[in-house]
Symmetry: C2
Subunit: 735 residues, 2 copies
């Protein structure tokens, strides 16, 4: 590590001194800007993006400039300072593109006001546990400001008088960079997205000012030894596959400083080879982000995450355009860009818009199934994503078996999420936070984030003895991770993944195997779930399925808590779930609900005295913080148990058209034929003589080992980690 | 009435005998079809509509024709017969447009199968209280079949052999027309949309077969005296304004037979002057339908109605295109057609598509405020709609003060609905029915339609003593109607409507005055509600506001039923509402919620010991039939009381952008200064020195009378039914 850093250090000095004296140079150049100007007329996506920028700045020019005294998070002053840097950024780019002086004057005039205010400020008084900024309550926001302002300043640099530059640099820009990299050195060196923002902002300013001291600090940390700094972040924040340990919601945010600074390094200091660094880790980072997205572009809200953050976020637009330009054109990235419907205003955005315009219609975003390893060494479990179908209508099944994910992690090992028919139909609750809504606890994380959203029962994974995994102990959870068993997605008709989570509950081993199966007798791919629990002692196993929309029907005879309702428990998230109804059955359990234009039915294998509970979030929620949604919970008391389930999308409903088709499932049953240490065999039966035999190797993973199981007088033989017999292939199947 | 009918009868005989011998003639002609063919290439809307039709029929041609034995409502056979007539209809039109024989052959082949099946059928065994059909459980569906098949038959008539025609007419078409108009004579003569469908189907077939006996029966009823029949329907089913007594969801359905038959009459028997009949009542009917729609095109779900039925329903597409052609081009109709995004495949659709193509961008649908009188005589109260703004973003406030609306009516006099920001933010529950979803009670009306959806508390109108209006007695409700007081919507800044409902509760008089106010200090128009109750005795008045989305905050100190929840009552709908929290206050009541991208705050005037209850639907709902949604209920025990409220849309929220602005209201208070028999005076105060004085005349309506009220030492004087002082006008206000 250190030797690599030294080599790079040496080359840096040469590159920096030999660099062109022209501005702008860190994100665009005069020549590029001229191409953008011409391209805007020819390529609609670029034209629209430019027009949007003009509209925003037009409004800014029409208003008096306001650089207010710092205020609380989410308040007027906070938002105003955010808006100011966004407007400076766009005005700077518009100046290079159009040459219109008013844009440069605007950036200058805003900076003049900061030049007056900033020297009067000390540390923000309202920072709580965060490292404070001066304009903002946390230094993170200050770094956001400086990243954008560095680009703006680069763009208008040559339009400013030397005295103006001197004033801005001595009153605002250098003091802020010093605050971020010297006063807040610890935050600066932190291997965390806060550190990424800080290093990027200081490094970008360093390039604009041609100050190698800032640049070196940014690249190699305050000690210049590579124990902190931007390159170290690239080493540690991603798994070798580019998966970001905190999950897709957070990589979204981190992509911006990673790519802004990388682009500046690439332009100012090409010898670093930043885009090739760590086997092109930035390419993998961008791809891993967009490849985890649901087919509609929304990021799965795993861990503490918003339910709606999507690939059209400005950070992803930036990273995608740069990746498209720097790593090569890719039709799937264009498909993602079509969802984004916006490009950045430099040569990268131009390239995307040009290639989009060359197509008759925008390509669909259709990623293949993929598994990401987790942990910086790639050896700490992973995240599996099975996909079938094309574009927005495709099916996506995600299983989570990696690391806990630091402070934003949830106790949700072996949790799954199913996306189908354009919707997250078996969802993740996401965070419990009304982000930035001041009356909701200042827009911060709510107490229910801890008491519900983070708990195991808020997820689609088994809860043992009504207790959260690791007994909700953060340190215990951080110290372990899931174990991948196998991930095989090459077949068109059957794709499978399997993982284990031992030790999350004392004395209980868990293994989950999930499959996507496409059969010509069914209109949509079907998910199969084999959740195996083994223990020497007897436990209560709760198997939850969260859903949205309306409960349509169930085959379970239940008693409804129709006139009086109480919570399902007192702790570990159960206190937030109303018990709506419950019943006991020895038969397979079926539940059908309606979500959007499609019906969904789960069919779970029969077991004696299975309790089925219907619940709804919202109990013990005096402040109306929770989102009210239904769930079903299948409860079994056992030592070893296998929950075998099928989730089947079916039919069609449109209230507006008053049309309903096939509201009943075609799958009738799933039976466990054998569940043992070596292997699991299950059988799914349904209409039209549907009969699938599902065989899974529970022993050491191997694609070549032969297996033989005898159960109920029959013998089942297969080779490899799994096999499914009896699937009827469609005549015209793609991938 | 009778004399007019006789005159028309005489002219009919002449017109019919002199009509052209060519087919098709009731909906299109060969010449028109040729124009449609040419226009499809030039006008995208027509081209797309034609392509959609082709795609549907392409699938039909690829499948074996199936004409199954009749089955239950919503089942396969039922849906198959529906699909068969839709496909015949489209194939017939495609034949005239393209001349391709395969389309005519398809219609013939389908009819051949019906010619075999139909003679074997008796009355459908599964009809319940309905008049039975033979193919379908109710004759209504049989009439749907015949309307469409009449058009199809007209289109392919000349392509059929005389023997084929004879066979189809003697085995299916005439027997069905006879079934509908002779066997089911009572249904045929009924002044109801079922009667409209029956008469239209028989009349249209009559024109195709050149059989004046069918035509006369259809126009004048089975007795040929005008006591039944199509013209009588036009006389009685609409108010003079064209408002349909059952409400917009039902007129949507009835528009199809009204317009299909009218178009056939116009073409075959122009002397009837059908489009001019009753002062162009069909024009008014179409306009009243689209003018009651929300700005997004969805019909307000008043009475038993779907929440999502919209103007893009095929019935409205047909009626709108014909109205556009027959009554003259109208930019607002084009705006509605843009939402429909589809046209019919004759000259009317061609005209709409042509005029749409001539515009750079589709016009917005921006109706003005309008009041509809109710009852066939127009003297039975009405429906008031205040609007501000343009297109989809406009605000719409609807108040309901007409007749009960027959069997589908709800006990909801003085109920209001508010639409803002593209959403129904203070909603109507609509019907309790999962329409056509077989596992949900066969897709029929659910018991909760009676026990909840129809009850007063399910609406946004005051409930007295926790009892439904008219004690939920249908006959009592049918015997009375609301009384309009005034409706004045000419001002740009303040629009108002007022109505009374005496007698709906014994000994209690109710008057509701609602206003829309636009003030330059507020970003969106604001609704003001003055709900006045007077009685000699003391009553409990419950003022409900239903909402969707998330409760954000309230200024009421409440105790939450956080760990145990019970229903709010035992009857009149209260048994279906969970009591979530409640508090008592002497201060003004404020509640803020989030719906979509906007916040909404209701501010209600202070009164001593006001109880505030937060509830949620879903109690006593063992079958999970209800939709779970929140409401607030403000409860006062009093003799006379005025609930004065402001509903203020404010701010902006996007979770995906993580942006929240102005989550707190600007309106601070509304105070009642005087509430008396003669007049009401209230004052609204808010930020930026906002202070409105609202003065309303409660005595006999007059736009010229002068009023003078002394209250709290001040004197308030105004002329006319209402005045609002203190509204700050924006510099650039339209309408």
């Amino acid at each position: 590590m250190i030797s690599r850093v030294s080599t790079i250090c040496a080359s840096l000095l040469i590159a920096a001194s030999g660099a062109s004296a022209q501005w702008p140079s860190i994100f665009t150049t005069k020549a590029e800007a001229a191409q953008v100007r011409r391209g805007a007329g020819a390529y609609p996506l670029l034209g629209r993006s430019l027009e949007e920028a003009r509209a925003i700045v037009r409004q800014a020019l029409a208003r008096p400039i306001d650089v207010p005294q710092p205020g609380e998070a989410g308040g007027y002053a906070h938002e105003r300072h955010k808006q100011n840097y966004r407007e400076m950024y766009l005005a700077g780019l518009l100046y290079t593109i159009t040459g219109e002086q008013r844009y440069a004057r605007f950036v200058r005039d805003v900076l003049e006001k900061y030049a007056v205010l900033y020297p009067t400020l000390g540390a923000h008084p309202l920072s709580k546990n965060q490292a404070p900024g001066k304009l903002f309550h946390q230094s993170l926001n200050e770094a956001n400001w400086l990243v954008h302002t560095a680009v703006a300043y680069d763009c208008v640099y040559e339009a400013l008088q030397p005295a103006e530059r001197r004033r801005f640099e001595t009153t605002v820009l250098r003091p802020m960079a010093d605050w971020l990299s010297v006063t807040q050195a610890k935050e600066f060196d932190r291997i965390h997205n806060h550190g990424t923002w800080a290093t990027a902002s200081v490094g970008m300013l360093g390039y604009v000012l041609r100050d190698t001291s800032y640049v070196n600090r940014a690249l190699y940390g305050t000690k210049r030894d590579g124990t902190g700094g931007f390159l170290r972040q690239l080493d540690l924040l991603f798994s070798p596959d580019g998966y970001y340990m905190e999950g897709p919601y957070y990589i979204r945010y981190a992509l911006m400083p990673f790519f802004y600074f990388a682009e500046a390094i690439h332009r100012r200091q090409p010898s670093v080879g930043i885009y090739a660094y760590r086997d092109s880790i930035l390419k993998k980072a961008l791809y891993s982000a967009v490849q985890t997205a649901f087919p509609n572009g929304v990021f799965p809200p795993i861990n503490d995450a918003s339910r709606t953050m999507a690939i059209d976020a400005p950070e992803v637009v930036l990273a995608l355009d740069l990746a498209y330009q720097r790593y090569g054109a890719d039709a799937n990235l264009l498909g993602a860009a079509a969802i984004q419907n916006r490009v950045v205003l430099n040569a990268a955005g131009l390239a995307v818009a040009r290639d989009m315009a060359a197509r008759r219609s925008p390509p669909a975003m259709s990623w293949r199934s993929i598994e990401f390893s987790d942990g910086h060494d790639g050896k700490r479990g992973g995240l599996g994503i099975l996909r079938m179908g094309e574009g927005r209508g495709s099916t996506m099944l995600l299983m989570k078996y990696g690391v806990h994910g630091e402070g934003h992690g949830h106790f949700d090992k072996l949790h799954f999420v199913l996306f189908d028919g354009g919707r997250e139909v078996v969802p993740d609750y996401g965070f419990s936070r009304w982000i930035n809504i001041e009356p909701k606890f200042g827009g911060r994380y709510l107490p229910e984030n801890d008491s519900y959203a983070m708990q195991t029962v808020a997820h689609n994974t088994v809860v043992v003895d009504q207790t959260t995994q690791n007994r909700a102990d953060f340190d215990a959870a951080e110290a372990m991770w899931g174990q991948r068993h196998f991930f095989e997605a090459d077949s068109v008709h059957v794709k499978a993944m399997s993982a284990r989570a031992p030790g999350y509950y004392e004395g209980v081993d868990m293994q989950r195997t999930m499959l996507l199966v496409r059969d010509a007798r069914l209109p949509y791919p079907v998910a199969i779930d084999l959740y195996r629990l083994t223990s020497d002692a007897s436990h209560t196993y709760d198997y939850p399925i969260h859903f949205r929309g309306q409960l349509i029907t169930t085959n379970v005879s239940y008693t409804a808590n129709a006139a009086r309702r109480e919570p399902l428990g007192t702790a570990h998230g159960y206190q937030h779930i109303w018990r709506e109804a419950a019943g006991t059955t020895d038969r397979p359990v079926q539940l059908t609900w309606l979500d959007g234009n499609r019906y969904y039915t789960t069919t779970t294998s029969a077991a004696p005295a299975t309790e089925v509970i219907f619940g709804r979030t919202g109990a013990n929620d005096s402040s109306f913080n929770l989102i009210v949604e239904p769930l079903m919970l299948i409860r079994r008391r056992a030592t070893d148990h296998l929950f075998a389930s099928v989730i089947e999308p079916h039919g069609y409903f449109s209230e507006a058209e008053e049309r309903s088709e096939q509201a009943r499932p075609r799958i009738r049953d799933i039976r466990v034929l054998s569940s043992a240490t070596a292997a699991t065999v299950a059988e799914v039966t349904g209409d039209n003589d549907l009969r699938w035999t599902i065989m899974v190797n529970n022993g050491p993973a191997s694609t070549t080992a032969r297996h033989r199981v005898t159960a109920g007088g029959a013998t089942y033989e297969w080779t490899g980690n799994f096999a499914v017999r009896g699937v009827q292939r469609a005549t015209s199947d793609a991938r």
